[in-house]
Symmetry: D2
Subunit: 248 residues, 4 copies
Amino acid sequence: MSENSAPQFHSDVTVELVRASAEDADVIFAARVSTQGEQSLEADKMEGTKTEQDQKRDRGLINYLMRDRHGSPFEHNSMTFYVQAPIFVFREFMRHRIASYNEESGRYRELNPVFYVPNSSRNLIQTGKPGAYEFHPGTAEQTALVDQQTRDVSMHAYEAYQRMLEAGIAREVARIVLPLTIYSSMYVTMNARSLMNFLSLRTKREGSHFPSFPQREIEMCAEKMEDHFARLMPLTYEAFNLNGRIAP
Amino acid sequence: MSENSAPQFHSDVTVELVRASAEDADVIFAARVSTQGEQSLEADKMEGTKTEQDQKRDRGLINYLMRDRHGSPFEHNSMTFYVQAPIFVFREFMRHRIASYNEESGRYRELNPVFYVPNSSRNLIQTGKPGAYEFHPGTAEQTALVDQQTRDVSMHAYEAYQRMLEAGIAREVARIVLPLTIYSSMYVTMNARSLMNFLSLRTKREGSHFPSFPQREIEMCAEKMEDHFARLMPLTYEAFNLNGRIAP
Amino acid sequence: MSENSAPQFHSDVTVELVRASAEDADVIFAARVSTQGEQSLEADKMEGTKTEQDQKRDRGLINYLMRDRHGSPFEHNSMTFYVQAPIFVFREFMRHRIASYNEESGRYRELNPVFYVPNSSRNLIQTGKPGAYEFHPGTAEQTALVDQQTRDVSMHAYEAYQRMLEAGIAREVARIVLPLTIYSSMYVTMNARSLMNFLSLRTKREGSHFPSFPQREIEMCAEKMEDHFARLMPLTYEAFNLNGRIAP
Amino acid sequence: MSENSAPQFHSDVTVELVRASAEDADVIFAARVSTQGEQSLEADKMEGTKTEQDQKRDRGLINYLMRDRHGSPFEHNSMTFYVQAPIFVFREFMRHRIASYNEESGRYRELNPVFYVPNSSRNLIQTGKPGAYEFHPGTAEQTALVDQQTRDVSMHAYEAYQRMLEAGIAREVARIVLPLTIYSSMYVTMNARSLMNFLSLRTKREGSHFPSFPQREIEMCAEKMEDHFARLMPLTYEAFNLNGRIAP
């Protein structure tokens, strides 16, 4: 067995911002081209430190763009995240087509035995109808069952994976027995418009015009991405929340 | 346990064409708008049965569009496939962003115990460097090992899944222990241009300008889709092959 | 001069539905795959004539999908329109990226002298601030001025175009003097989800959650497309209107 | 008349790189995630100055990705250009759907009288069949005719535009008489993969696998964008040229 083979279990996801060229000013300049010539733009750049009035004007413009759904000014920027999460999260993530993905490949490398296991804060019980599920904590017994079954299946499957690799089976074949709990990693690049669409569907934070019922684990990714977004583009983020968390 | 719980193992994939509005004539009319007025189009429709000369002209036009990479005339058509394949195939499939997907959901329904197991025709041994892997048959022992491990892990995981469901655990939680061998089903809709791009990357048929090294199982899907495409749009398919199997 | 050269002036746009594979049932089957196995789908197809209860269930499902913004089931369908409109409309139209376009080309053929001129029902006066413009009828004098200037410039420019063609200048060069009033024609293919997005931005019909301020001439196209859509997919159209005319 | 109203005529286009987050290293890190864990990536970053061997390895990896059409690693980067060109160029430009656009709006501001006129280096005569046109210089008389007609029509149309604005006609109506020669400006954002696709179709430089026949004026834009790209991502650009100038 490889030196990596001692199984690890985690209950969280990792999101790092590895590259960003994204600020509120990128929205402003793109929007201004509609209404001004280049000279004004140059003047705007030369202004130096922004006055309070400038900021108020910028906030107003961004809020107006969001409200009237002028979406394209929110596209001239770019954020790249490094995400580590179990495969069942990536399955949902990659349904979002306005993004760029590169994921670790089980065809090119041997996968590490790192698995997701729900911890005690994960609601385990579901009530209600499709489209309006509610989730509640499990009992101590239920929590213990999920923990034990998840660990057991993950280790059992990984042993089979190792056994096949040792017998000379191709990685792309051996990996098919691995469970959806196994962690993978990827780079994902999005612009702010696409990210707001992602957040509108993959979080259920308050203030949203439309209900969303994301699975908790992808919401954990979305919340971490949202924190980076809020810090990089505070006025855009504020306008997103003010306008019902609907992407323009 | 539910009545569906007797595990089944399959070694193939299913592709049904459930809806198609796609023929070579759709390429012709879209291309002709560039060079003709509507009257010519109307005249073309009124022509009735096509002469041999018409067909030669159509073949020539489609071949010219493909060769010079005029891609847009190949987009005014639509094919919907119903695909049943293991989840590890869907993971690769959904990386193709110019398509529409709806997949069976383990959040809304209990999944059936239907699993993929490689059969004896599946090459199990990989040689060569990344980007130029070659695959060869395994020995009888290797084949038996893969068969036995895949069945064992799949059944073991499904039992854990059932055990959690019976204990009242939410479907979206219990399903995380299932292996990548489990079958899922989806509808996928593409136009001919997008489908040709898919085929160029997910088959390694002869005549391709650029090498591709698809995993065999997604290639099995691609080949079945290709058969439908070849039948629906024979001139387009012929031009695709004549021009190095590169999507325009 | 060519036989086509007598200038024509029109004040309307043409939208023909030339190809459609789009009905409410396409939404239903795509959504059902999430929750049912294929057998149920087959059973659904075999049902024959739908009962009143079936229709109520279908209407409820489509409304639920729209409300909760499950957008992908609205993508497995396809509509192709033949549109004739002035170039300034096509400039706005082609900003919509989730669609397929093939337009008449001034590089490949000599363009006909067919021009748009606003008629008396076109509001000519604009008041209010950007983002909240209101439009009002012009005076008789203003109306006459617009009519006269538009005809004059269009004919003047077309004469220059003809003069250059006659002198042997390439079509792609001569055409650059033509005005934005000249009509062009194109095929455009969209699915219902993309079309609803288009309608939400290019009409200002009542009941919309968000304001839109489309230029009247593209709205004329949008309204004709909307009529086709309403007829092809009545339940989807109803749900679109019930849910604030926001695409899912 | 406004102070901007003295007509100007230009024969070139402007392309400024206003924002870029795009280097060869962005391709490398995205590709490495497939084959390495994060630790290796971290180690790679810590390496400090790259040795000659590192550079050779990077060049080899990028060339391999291009050759085998692994396209996604070329998407984790972003370039924003400010482009000034006549409207007939923008009409072609915006057919490229994998890009973000914000253009100056004739609805929100009065347009300046800046017009394109072909200069003496612009080939005016076209020979050959569609798909294989060749262009040749015009005679002195032809050149003079094009120059004179273009200037005349542009000024005539702009006067009508001014006349309508002065009479109180809405900008969005008055502008419809303007010719395709009028300059507009826009911001366009693309990633390297999309830009390579654009270049493959809008330049006819040597070494291309497939022929392209772009109109000269959009090719002028493309060539300026290509210069920026070559400087920002030299290894990627080299691999693009080595592999037939086909986007992966």
